[in-house]
């Protein structure tokens, strides 16, 4: 087996040569922001190239299309990708959610059928967890799946379906038993083809003006029952497991990366470019962001140091989402105030600073302050689970 060092070297050489630059349109920063056909085609092709060069799925079994190497190999390649800030991997739901799950608990047939298409980006996967009327609690999912012979018949709707419009398959959380003893026990997890009668997707236009999610409607949609993962009623447990793959809390992802995290302190460059960095008032404002960014960074270091975490062990982990997402919203918002008259511009305007990135990032920041439990709900959680305050009712 090739050494990790050599593999890293090969990767470095390959990405140095092949990383695309200046593609002429705005590259999505996260897999959730792939909005146009142009972006989609480009990123799909890019993923295929990376896969064919051997730097994606390197640790996945070779019999299904993977590289047959180790996690260390893949990690080394992924690190190189970050170094070169390569475009993100298109098929993230497949690479980080569906794929690891199928390799973990799928049948031999599942593996044969799905893995290679995930890696090559031939088969795009989408995610069907949230529902329109059921808030941020996935356990409330009501989409109904009724077993009928070798099929499930689906009725209901999913929203915020990432890649719904591109997806060939969906990982679906559905209710197979409405009479289960509790809401979680009635759920099942099903690999669902999207190209069947009765499935329709409607693109959601985001407040940024771009597409990036769909709402998906199921009306008597008939799908093969062999897509069931685990057993009926295990859907909640399996959904939580996929979230762990996605968060990297559990190994098995194909590698690559799906979110470019821009350094928020790039705002200092913006302030310099806009000739505002010498303004004492701006300096005073920027220092708040710098100190806050540093605090967030240090909180993460401290969370790993036991003796410094004794008083409120759950505090730092539970505040992490709130603090980071509100920080992102605020710093991007502030960035707009540095741009003078050119703050009037938006994405795709050549006269805009940084291609309108700050405007777009500000608007997109709401996906994180709203999605996955709003900032208001996060405060409730911290109050109740860390500070012992009574529930708000």
């Amino acid at each position: 087996m090739i050494s990790v060092e050599q593999f890293a070297k090969d990767a470095d050489q390959w990405f140095a040569e092949h990383t695309p630059r200046d593609v002429g349109f705005m590259m999505p920063l996260t897999f959730m922001e792939v909005g146009t056909e142009q972006q989609f085609e480009f990123l799909r092709d890019w993923q295929r190239q990376v896969y064919e060069a051997g730097f994606l799925g390197a640790a996945w079994p070779s019999e299904y299309g993977g590289g047959g190497l180790t996690d260390a190999h893949q990690a080394a390649a992924t690190k190189v990708m970050r170094k070169y800030e390569v475009p993100i991997m298109m098929n993230t739901i497949g690479l980080s959610w569906a794929g690891p799950l199928i390799l973990d608990i799928g049948s031999e047939a599942h593996k044969q059928k799905y893995i290679k298409g995930i890696l090559s980006a031939e088969d795009i996967w989408c995610q069907g967890f949230s529902e329109p009327e059921n808030g941020s609690d996935l356990g409330n999912a009501q989409l109904r799946a009724v077993r009928d012979g070798d099929d499930y018949v689906l009725n209901g709707s999913k929203i915020w379906t990432t890649h719904g419009n591109f997806g060939k398959y969906m990982i679906l959380l559905a209710r197979t038993n409405p009479d289960a003893p509790n809401k979680y026990a009635g759920l099942s997890f099903i690999l669902t083809p999207m190209d069947v009668a009765g499935v329709e997707t409607r693109k959601i236009k985001k407040l940024t003006g771009e597409h990036g999610f769909t709402q998906t409607f199921f009306e008597d949609a008939r799908i093969p029952a062999d897509g069931l993962m685990g057993r009926e009623g295990q859907g909640w447990k399996i959904a939580m497991q996929t979230l762990e793959y996605e968060r990297g809390a559990r190994g098995g992802q194909a590698g690559g990366y799906s979110i470019t995290e821009p350094d928020p302190l790039e705002i200092l460059n913006l302030a310099r470019d806009t000739r505002q960095l010498n303004d004492p008032v701006v300096q005073d404002d920027l220092l708040d962001y710098i100190i806050d960014a540093q605090a967030v960074n240090l909180n993460q270091q401290r969370a790993k140091i036991g003796p410094l975490m004794r008083d409120n062990p759950a505090g730092l982990p539970l505040m992490d989402k709130l603090v980071k997402t509100e920080f992102a919203r605020e710093i991007n918002q502030y960035a707009l105030t540095l741009q003078g008259t050119r703050g009037a511009y938006y994405v795709d305007e050549p006269n805009a600073f940084d291609k309108g990135l700050w405007h777009r990032s500000y608007l997109n920041a709401f996906s994180a302050t709203i999605g996955g439990g709003t900032s208001q709900i996060q405060r409730n959680i911290i109050a109740e689970h860390v500070l012992g305050l009574p529930k708000s009712y």
Partner: protein, 378 residues
């Protein structure tokens, strides 16, 4: 330092203001429901010619133009309630730029320019301003475009950005350096060839603007405005822009709040109306307070606008308060609409974009405060 708030602007209202407020409230509500606004977003022009004709017929374009020039002979204080109602309904007409050009002509136009253009404006000619440049500066004197005197006029070079509604405009007011001194020119929009125009992409999709390449444009000698009045004219444009911009912001804030409150009153989560949660309720109260403060400051600025020595302070304060009010209200409106707030269909984004746009027009909060510091602390 002794500090007398009375010196910073007072509040009052004229009968004409009340009357115009009523007419404008009804007109804008009838002509510009939100569906109509959204229908214009993708259009090239961004507004309906019929609406423009209608407001010309109502005499709104001449409110602050003297009767001698075909206007109504009132003041900007009477224009403010009209713009407030337009802002409230997100009605996107080239009213601000046209009004500003009229004001600029009144302050710094030659007698012949006034006689020729003001009656036309009062009766419906669209006018626009070509002042901003790629340096992004709010300071209207901070420009590099130049005009070179030739035998029969002025040869322009350089570039202007954010020229609003140029496609609809018949008249353009432009700033350029002539012999190193900022000068103003007013001329027929046709002198800017189609090839010299590029439509720009704006954050506020109800608005339209163009980048203009000046190279090759030659203006007749009569286009030059009164050279002795350039400074005072630019200052007047700046303050008028801020005053009317504040009016548009205040109007938009009212609707943004109404829209958000409606959602908080009717949407349930966990079996309870979300407006009952103090986490949403109290910030909206703060947004509402910000709105009422901005409104008071706006009316004071309008009322004091003809009083030299008060108008600049009052206007800049109004702009600070109005910009903040809409920014905060709309930011919270997106958040409090939850998942729906993240969609384009939710109107909250329209208001948030509007607030960002106005920050770029004649100065944002920090800029206004710097000017206020200069006025009050030096």
């Amino acid at each position: 330092m002794s500090f007398n708030p009375q010196a910073l602007g007072r509040l009052g209202i004229t009968e004409e203001q009340v009357e115009l407020m009523d007419v404008a409230e009804n007109f804008c509500r009838d002509k510009s429901d939100i569906a109509t606004v959204r229908a214009q977003l993708e259009g090239v022009r961004g507004f309906r010619q019929d609406d423009w004709t209608a407001i010309a017929d109502l005499g709104w374009l001449g409110i602050a133009i003297p009767e001698d020039f075909g206007g109504v002979g009132l003041t900007l204080a009477e224009v403010v309630p009209v713009v407030e109602q337009m802002g409230r309904r997100m009605m996107s007409l080239p009213f601000l730029s046209t009004t500003l050009v009229a004001q600029a002509l009144l302050t710094g136009g030659t007698e012949s320019q006034k006689a020729v253009y003001l009656p036309k404006i009062a009766s419906g000619m669209v006018a626009t301003l070509a002042l901003s440049e790629l340096n992004g500066a709010y300071d209207l004197n901070d420009i590099t475009a130049t005009a070179e005197k030739t035998s029969d006029g002025f040869k322009l070079s350089g570039q202007k950005i954010l020229v609003q509604n140029l496609d609809a405009a018949e008249l353009v007011l432009l700033s350029a350096k002539l012999d190193g001194k900022t000068s103003l020119f007013v001329f027929d929009a046709n002198l800017i060839a189609a090839s010299a125009r590029r439509r720009e992409k704006l954050i506020d999709e109800t608005k339209r603007s163009y980048e203009v390449s000046l190279a090759g444009i030659v203006l007749p000698a009569t286009c030059l405005m009164d050279a002795d009045k350039t400074i005072v004219t630019l200052a007047h444009i700046d303050l008028c822009g801020n005053l009317l911009g504040s009016a548009e912001l205040v109007g938009a804030t009212q609707t943004c709040l109404d829209y958000t409150l409606e959602y908080l009153r009717t949407r349930k989560q966990f079996g309870k109306l979300i407006g009952a949660y103090q986490a949403l309720k109290h910030p909206i109260v703060d947004a509402y307070i910000g709105y009422e403060k901005a409104r008071s400051l706006l009316y004071a600025a309008a009322h004091s606008f003809d009083e030299q020595g008060k108008r600049e302070v009052a206007t800049r304060m109004a702009k600070v308060a109005a910009g903040r009010a809409l920014s905060f209200a709309a930011d919270r409106s997106i958040q409090f609409h939850g998942g729906f707030g993240f969609t384009y269909d939710c109107d909250a984004q329209l208001y948030r974009r509007r607030a960002i746009f106005h920050d770029s027009q004649y100065g944002d909060t920090r800029w206004q405060k710097k000017q206020l510091a200069r006025l009050l602390f030096n």
